[in-house]
């Protein structure tokens, strides 16, 4: 179980060379994600989803609050937690001069996966994520969809327990998106805990068991997709969101 408790993250924003002001990217965010559950972090661009997931993945330190994984916190069990995390951020090409196979092998080595197990896992992920055609090709030459599948594979090569996926399908075509979404659903069945951020409301509605809606760094609603729709008297999460923010999303 991932438990996020009263997490707050403050940043300094420079208005000009001399003028600065503090702003809260996340304000008192709390939620729990249980084993075998997909929790969707929903919100428009700039809502604070990425900051929240980066705090959860141990990349950023919260200004206040704690994040625990089955009771373990980063302060005392950093390496143990990271050993069990899969963190995926956007669509980036990590080490693009390597081949896909080399990247996956390197990641399994870093995570200390035994050679035979690593080979088996790479083979398994290659099949599931449909990467047979470019396993030995350079990452630099892959399409957006292929790159994202490789990113997912390298995050999961060590068979982690917790998945933190930040906008895993953004910018992908429907085939690549579907491959990734099907894969996430399958992993859920294996009892993995999945945090899944997206700004595609329909996607969240399809795969998430629970949804945390964020706007301007604040949680505006938590619940199952059905509960949220019922409470807001709407038929889909998109309308629910607009109903909760009063019709206009994230004005700057």
């Amino acid at each position: 179980m991932i438990k996020v408790d009263k997490v707050k993250k403050k940043f300094i924003k420079y208005k000009s060379k001399t003028e600065k002001e503090e702003f809260l990217a996340n304000s008192n965010i709390s939620f729990e994600a249980n084993d075998g559950e997909i929790v969707g972090i929903l919100g428009p661009n700039g809502a604070g989803k990425t900051t929240l997931l980066r705090i959860t993945a141990g990349i950023l330190e919260p200004t206040e609050g704690t994040v625990t994984f089955d009771g373990l916190n980063y302060k005392d069990n950093e390496i143990e937690i990271k050993q069990n995390i899969a963190y995926l951020s956007g669509n980036t090409k990590l080490y693009d001069t390597l081949s896909v196979y080399e990247l996956l092998k390197m990641c399994s080595d870093i995570y200390g996966v035994e050679k035979e197990k690593a080979e088996k896992r790479i083979k398994e992920l290659t099949k599931i994520l449909n990467m047979e055609g470019f396993l030995y090709g350079k990452i630099a030459n892959l399409s957006t969809g292929q790159t994202q599948r490789v990113n997912i594979a390298r995050c999961l090569v060590h068979n982690p327990k917790y998945y933190i996926l930040d906008e895993a399908t953004t910018g992908l075509d429907i085939i690549s998106s579907q491959i990734i979404l099907d894969f996430i659903k399958e992993e859920k069945k294996k009892g993995k805990t999945i945090l899944y951020s997206t700004h595609y409301m329909e996607e969240a509605e399809n795969i998430c068991d629970k949804v945390i809606m964020i706007n301007k760094g604040v949680v505006i609603k938590t619940g199952t997709p059905d509960e949220i729709k019922r409470d807001t008297n709407t038929t889909n999460l998109r309308d629910s969101f607009f109903s909760l923010v009063g019709g206009v999303s994230n004005e700057e």
Binding site: G58, I59, E61, Q83, L98, E102, F134, G137
Partner: protein, 551 residues
């Protein structure tokens, strides 16, 4: 339009404005930072002052102080050529904005001129830092008048134009064959290496050509006199001669005449360059845009050995450094090229001269062993200044730098793994220098081993300090690797730390000259062992704080 385009290209290559988390990051330097930079700059000037003064005094004794101007100009000139070799292909062909620029209604010469201007601006920056300061010191020491300073400034401004256009033209010729090259990365590396070989061959070639037309005596005279070397350069680069002459003359009329001649030759050069470039540049450019590497399926042999994490990590760092042509050329090759050039300079000397040098060094070794051993340490520190592995270790990761924060490897360990490639590069260059020393001098192996160990100790501290600087000022928002290894102000730090190391060696050697070489070396070793322990503790204790800018 060309001016505007230059401004855009320069801005995009400098990438000064970074956007993080949707916030415009206006870099704000604290007073402490500004003070630190001011102190470091003052130190750099101090060292330059010290070295320049020494050189001027030595030359003054034989009434040849004006040779100093030739030496500075020669150094700047070769630096301009070397820098353009590295930058021309990247700026002309591998800028990310190439395809969008081509679709704009611009005239071909405007694009070419703007790209060339960017290269020239980079060269001017080098000339100001490397050339102007020693020449100002010269002017102050010899009470030169305002005319001297004016001619120096004109000289440093006009000097790089011809080398830049010649090197750019060579790169365009090579790139115009790009249609036959399918692999863009390997091709980029290949062409840069070819260019480098050409430049080295060219500089050695000048000497060789002259050795065939001159007697041994004349040759010896030419090589022993830096002023004569200027004559050789004048033949191939007339503007070099005009500009140096204008400074030497200290006469307003000569200055005007030589400047006009320089401008005229440069203008003809630019016109020829533009005419040829319009034919060559776009041919190669379009070729390079559509020559993406084909994905190929190959078999990767799986190694049976179980590897330790450190080895895996360092191996990964090395693999990325070597496979990426930009990183290879800018970070790895300097470790080998500069010592190799050093060897080249020794081997182009005549037998008698080599014997002369060897004899005088051997004599000095008998009478002043500390000076020779410390000199070796200082030379190796000089080469260490051009290895940019550690100073770009974090920035090279770019937007993916967060990787180091979510993998289950303690940050301080990753920091150490990241400096190892830099130390390895240093080991290569150190071995080359020590090999030359052993060839030239009757130095005992024990002495060489001691010097080697001390150099490595110094390089470990230099590498760790460079990594700390990169962690404190990472350049993570970039579109092209070129921005990390060229347009990155952090690259000044290896030079600063290397200069500090050289300064410490000189200081110890000067203050402890009454003691034996070994005592001096042991003291330096102690200083650096202590420094390394302190820096390591700092890295360990501040591991999280140092990584704060990676997010």
């Amino acid at each position: 339009m060309t001016f505007l385009l230059t401004k855009i290209f320069l801005k995009s290559s400098m990438q000064k404005i970074t956007e993080q988390n949707g916030i415009k990051d206006v870099r704000k330097k604290s007073k402490a930072q500004i003070t630190l930079y001011a102190l470091l700059f003052a130190y750099l000037i101090g060292i330059m002052w010290f070295l320049s003064t020494k050189m001027i005094n030595v030359l003054k004794e034989i009434n040849a102080e004006t040779v100093f101007i030739d030496l500075v100009f020669m150094m700047v000139f070769f630096l301009n050529i070397l820098q353009t070799v590295f930058s021309s292909i990247n700026l002309l062909y591998f800028s990310k904005d190439t395809d969008s620029i081509l679709s704009l209604p611009l005239k071909p010469y405007q694009i070419i001129l703007a790209r060339t201007n960017v290269m020239l601006i980079l060269e001017f920056a080098v000339n100001i830092l490397i050339g102007l300061i020693p020449l100002i010191i010269y002017g102050v020491k010899l009470n030169c008048n305002a005319l001297y300073y004016i001619s120096v400034i004109i000289g440093l401004m006009l000097l790089p134009i011809l080398p830049v256009i010649i090197v750019s033209l060579i790169s365009m010729v090579i790139m115009s064959f790009s249609k036959i090259i399918k692999n863009k990365n390997k091709f980029q590396l290949f062409t840069t290496l070819i260019m480098l070989v050409l430049v080295i061959a060219f500089s050695i070639g000048i000497t060789k050509i002259d050795s065939e037309t001159m007697t041994d005596e004349q040759m010896a005279q030419t090589l022993t006199s830096a002023g004569s070397f200027t004559d050789m350069l004048k033949t191939y680069f007339p503007t070099f001669g005009f500009l140096v002459n204008s400074i030497h003359s200290n006469n307003i009329l000569t200055l005007i005449l030589e400047t006009v001649k320089t401008i005229a030759v440069t203008f003809i050069g630019v016109v020829i360059y533009l005419l040829c470039a319009q034919k060559l540049y776009f041919k190669g450019l379009i070729g390079s845009l559509y020559s993406g590497e084909k994905t190929k399926r190959g078999k990767v042999k799986i190694k049976a050995k179980s590897k330790r994490l450190g080895i895996i990590y360092v191996f990964k760092e090395l693999k990325i450094l070597i496979r990426n042509p930009v990183y290879l050329v800018q970070c790895v090759l300097p470790a080998l090229i500069f010592p190799v050039l050093f060897i080249g300079l020794i081997f182009i000397a005549s037998d008698e001269e080599l014997k002369g040098i060897t004899n005088s060094l051997a004599l000095m070794l008998n009478f002043n062993k500390p000076l020779i051993l410390m000199g070796l340490v200082a030379i190796m520190q000089f080469f260490a200044m051009f290895i940019y592995v550690s100073i770009t270790a974090i920035s090279r990761e770019g937007k993916n730098a967060t990787f180091i924060k979510y993998i289950p490897v303690p940050l301080y360990k990753q920091y150490i793994y990241k400096i190892i490639p830099n130390v390895l590069m240093n080991i290569f260059s150190t071995l080359i220098v020590l090999g030359i020393a052993r060839y030239l001098l009757p130095i005992e192996i024990t002495d060489l081993i001691i010097v080697f160990v001390i150099s490595i100790l110094m390089n470990v501290s230099l590498s760790m300090l460079c990594l700390i600087m990169d962690l404190k000022r990472p350049k993570l928002q970039w579109n092209t690797e070129y921005a990390v290894v060229k347009q990155n102000m952090n690259l000044i730090f290896p030079m600063i730390f290397g200069t500090i190391n050289v300064g410490i060696v000189i200081f110890v050697n000067t203050t402890l000259k009454m003691y034996s070489a070994y005592i001096q070396l042991v003291i330096i070793a102690m200083i650096y062992i202590l420094a390394n322990i302190c820096i390591y503790i700092y890295l360990y204790k501040k591991q999280y704080e140092l990584a704060k800018k990676i997010m």
